[in-house]
Symmetry: C2
Subunit: 296 residues, 2 copies
């Protein structure tokens, strides 16, 4: 760490990971990451795990987002209902003596039912970096989110389980013997996206064909992996067409998934710009920190 002391600490505390950044204003002084996700912690462990993660960084306040604010997390940060302004809302952890800790509230949509925790902070950060953006933000991941923004407000959103379904089919279903790692056969990916977009119902019957194609010797594990990715992402694009067609689309996401979404959207005539997830997360947590009054 540089010699300057952090004046606040940013934290992204999800189900599987805890990431912390020592911050001075918008400047990152230091960063650490561990697998102490909230999913493996019980309530009494959150405080000590956090203090351990930020040891040596002084007593600066912490601003965090993610599943740490769920009902099973450290302190529940209630969902704010959409439509709403895309601005951070914080609750303070009531019983942590070592330093102030604030958790960002997730968002809820009542009809059709949907929820997010963590992405709302990235969206706030994205708007700080791209003021005036109107259109749709896609956040690829385990549960990819598609979020419609208008005049600085989140109008509605939709989650698709594509990342999780890919993982279940590729690693725990009968397809596990058939699916290679990664997606490199881009022609197979493109063809599968087009197939699923043209006829999403028929693509359902194409899943077992990945297994049969391998058994009958006609298809490599590399091709099968790309076909599975393409079928699922094509399906998802089909399920979210009302959110991206004719819209500016921005992608915030993982280095692995974002290029696949970019490519699939390009096939539909949409040039989606890609944004760094860490950058918008820190911007969103910074915006959240600005909402804290001097007396809290």
């Amino acid at each position: 760490m540089s010699d300057a002391a952090p004046d606040w600490i940013a934290a992204d505390w999800g189900t599987t990971h805890l990431r912390v950044w020592a911050m001075r204003g918008r400047e990152v002084l230091d960063r650490r990451s561990s697998e102490q996700g909230m999913g493996k912690l019980t309530p009494p462990e959150f405080g000590p795990v956090l203090e351990d993660a930020v040891a040596g960084w002084g007593a600066a306040p912490v601003v965090t987002c993610g599943m740490v604010g769920s009902r099973q997390g450290w302190a529940e940060a209630p969902y704010a209902p959409v439509p709403c302004a895309a601005q951070p809302r914080l609750v303070r952890v009531p019983d942590h003596a070592a330093r102030p800790v604030y958790i960002a509230c997730g968002l809820r949509q009542d009809s059709p039912p949907d929820v997010m925790r963590g992405e709302e902070t990235q969206i706030a950060g994205f708007l700080l970096r791209n003021p005036g953006f109107e259109g749709t933000i896609c956040l690829p991941g385990t549960h990819t989110k598609w979020v419609a923004l208008r005049a600085g407000r989140i109008e509605r959103f939709r989650s698709c389980m594509t990342g999780e379904i890919y993982d279940l089919l590729a690693h725990r279903s009968v397809l596990r013997h058939t699916i290679g790692e990664g997606c490199h056969d881009m022609a197979a990916f493109d063809a599968a996206v087009a197939e699923a977009l043209a006829d999403p119902a028929a693509a359902y019957g194409a899943l077992f064909a990945l297994r049969a194609g391998a058994l009958l010797g006609a298809q490599s594990p590399e091709t099968a992996a790309c076909r599975l990715s393409g079928l699922l992402i094509g399906w998802e694009l089909s399920a979210t067409r009302d959110l991206w067609q004719g819209q500016p689309v921005a992608l915030i996401g993982s280095p692995v998934l974002s290029p696949l979404y970019t490519r699939a959207l390009a096939g539909c005539g949409i040039q989606a710009a890609s944004h760094d997830a860490e950058d918008v997360t820190l911007a969103g947590l910074y915006a959240a920190r600005q909402t804290i009054g001097a007396d809290t």
Copy 2:
């Protein structure tokens, strides 16, 4: 067992179970079942496991079907290509001294790629019981099969992974906290089938809503289970419409799944007759046994 000695033994040897029947012609003298599926056995174990299962039944020949004939099974019974006559084809296990053992060959379809092992025997048995049937047979299960029959021939077929996908989503995904056991809220099932049939792509986006609906308190685990069943079966009907629309449809299958398929098809104006799986399996193995020459 009755005092009569079996003159043959029928066996259904799948991935998870071994079922054996002591037979005298078409009459069942005795039956046994175990969890010694082929999936947990290595090649040297097949012979002893079979002899143990049929102990006390004499030296009658065994006729079996299912995954025991796969490449990882006891002896590979090569796939016969469709279109083909719906009649049993057997290979003999080469190295089992205790008694003759025959395994039924599965079926393959090259384009689009598909395979079956075990269901071909049920189809042969179904035709023995329902001579002259023309239309589509649906065999609900882990990988549901839809099979088009014409003039005693299997013309083509399609597998959908509905059973396996339901199991993965209900027990291993984020939905696992949300999905109850069984499907009893039939109004929710019907609505979800109709929804997926009307717009199969949108059904993809409705999966995560099962989780969010539970988090937001609007939906019981019982309703969620029925909605998940309905969405997946509706999707499958959408993917197989060319195989059932305007066709006589017969169902062969599990007591749990068949009523759901019957109900979903009835909603589409198709009155599907349901047939007992054990009965057609035994009829198919009987038909297979009739093909064995006296000298083998």
